[in-house]
């Protein structure tokens, strides 16, 4: 057991944090709205080799493990960086073609299967990616077609867009079931990003509570405010641990187990879903509390907490309602509903 970060991971954390502090401050995040994409920031990531870092060395990548990648994803969330790094990393691992591994071409995944007419609806990074992976019928396919370059106006200012699973250069990668791995990787990395959002929201809320004075004292000296913030560190630490456990299980060569009766859960798909649900709730609650303690200013565009608040919801809901994810998890944790039981 070792619940700390490795030296490599600490170096990764430092490198990405340094980059995002310099290249993705809130002014850059704001300037990237409404599309939610900053090309020059992406180019900096390409210079660093970030787009292909999770790809195996045999196929031109750096062979970073999922445990390394959740560290990267948390920094993305902390800076709410306007780049599709999480989607791209997952797509590149599943479909490591040269231009994608380099990052010259942006790739993404459709979290939901194509509709009967072949449309992947509201694909994350769908507005800016030229390669989309996803399920169409009983196949997992990669479709190469020009990105539309614009997104419908949305809550999180995210570059989401409908894409076609049929129009373009279409490659069949395998049966639809092969997508499960990519989806669990996306859930794990998104959970990490939501942890990053939560950490930043708590910092903003804490700092504001210390600088804002009412009744002659900092509002952070009022117990009601203190207790609202004091709930968050356990949620954040818990979400981070669960996310890292999911990544750890995803890095194991052998499949894990799912023994709820003995609280012994090491199965990757279960842990990834659990981390997604818990991190989504944690980010929702952290941004909610932090925005509230900002008072009216939290609601104004001028303050940064609203940027985090909207992304805390958008980055999770682009997949699904956490409650519906719970129902899917129930099949893994408790077994599916017996036919005819309902």
């Amino acid at each position: 057991m070792n619940l700390g970060l490795s030296e490599d991971q600490l170096a990764i954390e430092e490198a990405f944090t340094r980059l995002f502090v310099r290249e993705s401050p809130p002014a850059v995040v704001r300037a990237a709205e409404p599309l939610g994409f900053d090309r020059s920031l992406w180019d900096r990531l390409v210079d660093m080799g970030a787009p292909g870092m999770g790809v195996a060395a045999e196929t031109g990548g750096d062979g970073a493990t999922l445990s390394d990648l959740v560290v990267v994803a948390e920094s993305v969330g902390h800076a709410i960086a306007p780049v599709p790094l999480i989607e791209h990393i997952v797509a590149a691992r599943a479909h490591p073609v040269d231009d994608v591994v380099e990052g010259a071409t942006i790739a993404t995944i459709s979290l939901r299967p194509a509709r009967p007419d072949g449309t992947w609806r509201l694909v994350p990074a769908g507005a800016i990616a030229d390669v989309v992976l996803g399920v169409d019928g009983d196949e997992l396919v990669a479709v190469r077609s020009p990105a539309p370059g614009e997104a419908p106006r949305n809550h999180a200012a995210a570059p989401i867009s409908d894409r076609s699973a049929r129009v373009g250069e279409r490659t069949v990668l395998g049966p639809a079931a092969d997508f499960a791995r990519a989806l669990s990787e996306w859930k794990s990395l998104t959970a990490a990003a939501l942890v990053g959002i939560s950490v930043a929201a708590l910092q903003l809320g804490r700092d504001y509570a210390m600088s804002r004075h009412q009744f002659g004292v900092p509002i952070g000296s009022f117990q009601a405010v203190q207790h609202g913030l004091a709930d968050l560190p356990a949620l954040i630490d818990g979400a981070r641990l669960l996310t890292h456990k999911a990544a750890w299980s995803g890095d194991q060569p052998a499949p894990g187990i799912c023994n709820v009766d003995d609280a012994d859960i090491t199965d990757f798909d279960c842990l990834a879903g659990m981390a997604f649900v818990f991190a989504a709730e944690t980010a929702t609650r952290s941004t909610d509390r932090s925005l509230h303690f900002h008072g009216g200013y939290g609601f104004s565009e001028e303050y940064d907490i609203q940027l985090y608040y909207r992304r805390a919801r958008g980055w999770a809901l682009v997949f699904d309602d956490p409650s519906r994810e719970c129902l899917r998890l129930a099949d893994g944790l408790f077994g599916p509903v017996a036919v005819g039981a309902a």
């Binding site: 129902l327 129930a330 944790l333």
Partner: protein, 381 residues
């Protein structure tokens, strides 16, 4: 991060499970709920024989905090009565940390052999969270002390051989600086134990001290240094010694019943049970992290505050949900026909409220987190 346990620790856990499965029969659990004394001498002796008790004493160096965590985690998951030994092992750790050689020789062997328990006399009728204000007096008389006063929530006093008692020895000094701790035999003349029944079945006590005369040799730590001695104990208690995995047994029992009743197809049930399982996993990981922090030389006390608030509030929510999901059958108690999960649902709903109170209320822990973790100023209340 690496979440795997070493082969030696896995083996330790496997042996523990075996002992628990052998000793904790349905009769033992039944006796616990019949008597209100959440302790099993048979279990304590079996654990001591295998060396598990001495390995579980914080700071003794026989085992490590990871073993300590697993011991209480396995006991709690099994629904085994562990309140007696969790207090006892914690206090054994305090004796080991601050006791004299004379005290260690007299007290520790009986604790480590599983033959004797310790009960704690900290809280008083008028002082709970504000425990530094307690008024039970210890006055010096030559080489002896004379103690007068009353304590509340002296759980396990009916079964314990030893008592650890927080007293006031200086009424002039600031409240934290006039306290002294003693640890001495419960059969010392002048002690009265009155039972206090609780809605959670577990018996606790009010204890009274009428000219209790003890030798200075039973003083644990410095005169007027009782607050420091108390801090040693609290740093253990809020760490890894039970209280963070109570939902696991509840979920297991509820699910067994819900399967039989055909409730497991209901999406309302499925969603909530998944949320309970997720919270349980998070509580487990937070506790595991405290054990790891302590094992690698870190300070886990503040993490313990966070873990306790999260785990106990999640358990309360889970116990409310399971009772609601069980409906009318969730109102029925042990041994009643048709009781949901043989009465466990109703029991947990009755037990859960105390968990956010004892061992440091959620509010005291939130104060801790706000001031010491978030660096916020001392609160205006």
């Amino acid at each position: 991060m690496d979440f795997s346990l070493s082969p030696q620790i896995e083996e330790y856990r496997r042996e523990l499970k075996e002992i628990i499965a052998r000793v904790i029969t349905p009769e033992v659990v039944e006796e616990q709920h019949r008597s209100g004394t959440f302790n099993s001498d048979a279990l304590n002796l079996a654990l001591a024989r295998g060396g598990y008790l001495e390995r579980a004493v914080p700071g003794l160096g026989k085992g490590d905090p990871v073993e300590l965590w697993l011991l209480f985690n396995e006991l709690e998951k099994a629904g085994a009565p562990y309140d007696g030994i969790s207090i006892t092992m914690m206090i054994a750790g305090v004796v080991n940390a601050v006791g004299t050689d004379w005290q260690k020789e007299r007290i520790l062997p009986s604790l480590l052999s599983g033959e004797a328990l310790v009960c704690m006399g900290y809280s008083e009728p008028d002082y709970g969270s504000d425990v530094a204000s307690i008024v039970t007096r210890a006055e010096r008389d030559g080489d002896e002390w004379v103690i007068n006063g009353a304590k509340m929530w002296t759980t396990m006093a009916q079964a314990a051989k030893w008592l650890i008692l927080l007293t006031r020895t200086d009424t002039e000094a600031p409240k934290h600086k006039g306290l002294t701790m003693f640890l001495f035999p419960m059969d010392t003349p002048g002690i009265t134990v009155d039972p206090v029944p609780t809605m959670g079945t577990e018996r606790t006590n009010a204890t009274f001290y009428d000219n209790v005369r003890i030798s200075d040799q039973w003083r644990l730590g410095e005169v007027n240094g009782g607050w420091k001695t108390m801090g040693v104990a609290l740093s253990f208690e809020r760490g890894v010694m039970g209280g963070t995995s109570q939902s696991v047994q509840m979920l297991r029992e509820f699910r067994r019943w819900a399967e039989a009743e055909g409730l497991m197809a209901d999406p309302l049930v499925r969603e909530r049970l998944v949320r309970v399982a997720i919270d349980s996993e998070v509580a487990k990981l937070l506790t595991q992290r405290s054990a790891w922090t302590a094992a690698t030389g870190g300070e886990a006390g503040l993490q313990g505050s966070m873990t306790k608030v999260f785990a106990t509030e999640a358990y309360q929510k889970a116990s409310r949900w399971t009772q609601e999901m069980a409906g009318a059958e969730g109102l029925l108690q042990f041994d009643e026909p048709d009781a949901a999960a043989d009465g466990w649902v109703e029991y947990h709903a009755r037990h859960a409220p105390v968990t956010t109170i004892y061992g440091g209320t959620s509010e005291i822990n939130r104060n801790n987190i706000a001031e010491r973790h978030l660096g916020l100023p001392k609160a205006r209340r």
